[in-house]
Symmetry: none
Subunit: 127 residues, 4 copies
């Protein structure tokens, strides 16, 4: 048995940007906050933010322009790849956890449908 360690914060930051790109909240050319701003907002060590930005730059997710800031530079195929990778890992984790609780394939789908319905009903109630 192995224990799950936390994702390093710089990875969580990168994932957060990936998700915003995937959802279309950030688009090519958009300026993202400066490292300093971002570090203050999420109350994290600036070095951690620096590492996240650096890695995003390496994989061509963003581009830094001296004196101007950091800008999104992700092309469409990159976004598609992100989306697929992240979805796949979420799905894999979900299926593995549900299996470890003893649910089989059919139960999995049924439970998910029930959960979504219950959630929707709840949302309507609270309106």
């Amino acid at each position: 048995m192995d224990f799950d360690a936390a994702q390093p914060i710089y990875r969580q930051i990168i994932d957060d940007f990936k998700k915003r790109l995937i959802r279309g909240e950030l688009k090519n050319g958009d300026r993202i906050p400066s490292q300093r701003e971002y570090a203050e907002k999420v109350r994290v060590n600036p070095n951690t933010v620096q590492r996240a930005y650096r890695e995003m730059e390496i994989m061509n997710m963003v581009e830094t322009v001296r004196g101007q800031g950091t800008f999104v530079s992700a092309d469409q195929s990159m976004l598609a790849a992100f989306k697929e990778d992240m979805a796949r890992s979420v799905l894999a984790y979900f299926v593995e956890e549900m299996n470890s609780l003893g649910f089989n394939k059919a139960e999995l789908i049924r439970l998910l449908q029930e959960y979504l319905q219950a959630k929707e009903a709840e949302r309507n109630d609270s309106v």
Copy 2:
């Protein structure tokens, strides 16, 4: 934005036992490994294991007998509650993550079905 910290090891240990109970691998009256044995097996400090065992005792999952060991004492209703709680939290996490990737309800279910089929096909291939 908040960052996810890892679950403490002692909680992961508890969850591991909960799952084994849920799957029926452990039954009422079964002896679980001694604190030292378990600590060695999972390569964790015995104090951490003790904390997990003690918390399981407090919630009546197990009973410890001095000098003898620790024994499962979970009743049926407890197991049902564990199963439901854990399933719900796995489902909630899954739906939240998939939403954060921009998938809606219908897509969620479709993707899950596809994933399960792909996984099954893969299993058949490797045979």
Copy 3:
């Protein structure tokens, strides 16, 4: 014959707080010392204090707020139960010990009255 072991220190700490609550020296919302402060004051390892504080939290005697401290959160019925339980156990121990010395019910009460009078007389003398 069985031998009496000492109460674990963490339990003695809990009992100390229970008594202070019972006597009204601590009230709902009061901040109790930080784990480190308390550990230094009573010259005990901080881990031992933490265990006491954690157990008090589990039984809803106190609430801990990360980075802020630990606060009393005992409701009235809890206090009444504590008082009754502790009084009962003190009484039971007293009667058992006196019985083991061969005193019967009437003697017990007489001796107690004499003891209290003697103590009072002493106090007056020393003034």
Copy 4:
């Protein structure tokens, strides 16, 4: 604040003999078990028993006769002193504990009477 340590076992052994003397279960001239027998019966290290016996010999509670065993040799005045000392310490502990729970003199006596009555009623019920 100081924490209560356990009474050393050899003292608990001595106190046990004192109580039996006080209650008249042991009388002058009676043979008490050999150190070996006693150690086995109460499952204690023989060295501990030896210490208890030695201290009882020093205070003239018992006498050891080579090759014959250990015999009670407590005179009446000694018994009276034991009884008074032990009673006093039990009383002192009781009063102190009850005070620490906030009970005053009158409440102390009333609670004791109530407790004794409740106990008696219970005993009659169970018959």
